[in-house]
Symmetry: C2
DNA sequence: GCTTGACCTTACCATCATGGGAAGCCCTAT
DNA sequence: ATAGGGCTTCCCATGATGGTAAGGTCAAGC
């Protein structure tokens, strides 16, 4: 199997397959005399594993751990479960951060009449800070993590 | 005010202030004869605006739009509101994606007894795919976005 | 046999916002 | 004068991914 076919049947782009090889996440593929990478169904299975783990939000680093456990016959399922629980916890944190942003934005958007006039509580909040808001919107927020560094949250 | 002071009173790191200047998000600061950047309270206000917008998850690109509106006296609040609503929509999408991951992970973790034995439904799912799962966990998921490319979701 | 087009190879660059560090200049206090 | 801290610019790294360019390879059709 060439890399293109392996890509199609694993759902991992050829680019990423080469990348995973370069960082040592997967073993270096065999080569034809012409230098083409060659893949077996076993390799495709490995790639699918990685693909699914990525779909669950695991970082490549965590996937390395998962792969090591997968290939370790004497693994303890508790170790796998712990990685999963950590992943859940990380997702929870980021969801909560984004939820807090969304709540704030919703309050602001609700307070903005959104017409032709220039007056806008959204801009007012950005200029003066949340503590000078239009009155509401501080009682119903318990402890939004506005301090310290905000988590990076741009889509990319 | 030197950059250090401006940084402290705005909450934006000196590094980022220079970066924002380099990409044209903020105007180039004045300089002392020695080449030190000089900031006024007006500049600090601008930096605080940016800082708060970042805390709400806005990308630098969106902040550029917000700043343009802020400085446009004939702006329409509807334009600001639209940007906020887009931001909310984007956050919603990403939250839903992460929520779907979390739900799947929770199902898997619940099914994993997490003891010393190697048998693990989490690994089994990663190997065989969700369609060969241990029975449950497909009826109560309507249409998790497993197809196409997963959104990048690693913390950084 | 030769051409064409699809596929593969490596190598480099870009993303996005941020931090780290080095080399060197400047200012202030002792 | 010297020490220490702040400032400057420049380069590099992150994480996972895509894009592109220059060149080699393979298979099918003429």
């Amino acid at each position: 199997m060439n890399i293109g076919e392996a890509s199609k049947s694993s759902g991992v782009s050829a680019k990423m397959i080469r990348y995973y090889e370069s960082i040592g996440l997967i073993p270096a593929a065999g080569r034809t005399v012409a230098g083409y990478r060659v893949y077996s169904m076993t390799d495709v299975q490995l790639l699918r594993f990685i693909r699914r783990a990525r779909d669950l939000g695991f970082s490549v680093e965590k996937i390395e751990e998962l792969l090591a456990l997968w290939q370790d016959r004497s693994r303890q399922s508790a170790d796998v479960k712990q990685i999963a629980l950590e992943q859940i916890a990380g997702l929870e944190v980021r969801i909560r951060e984004m939820q807090a942003m969304m709540d704030t934005l919703r309050h602001l958007a609700d307070a903005c009449c959104g017409d032709h006039r220039p007056d806008c509580p959204i801009l007012a909040d950005l200029v003066n800070g949340p503590d000078h808001g239009s009155g509401a919107r501080e009682e119903d927020q318990q402890s939004a993590p506005r301090s310290g560094k905000a988590a990076g949250l741009q889509a990319h």
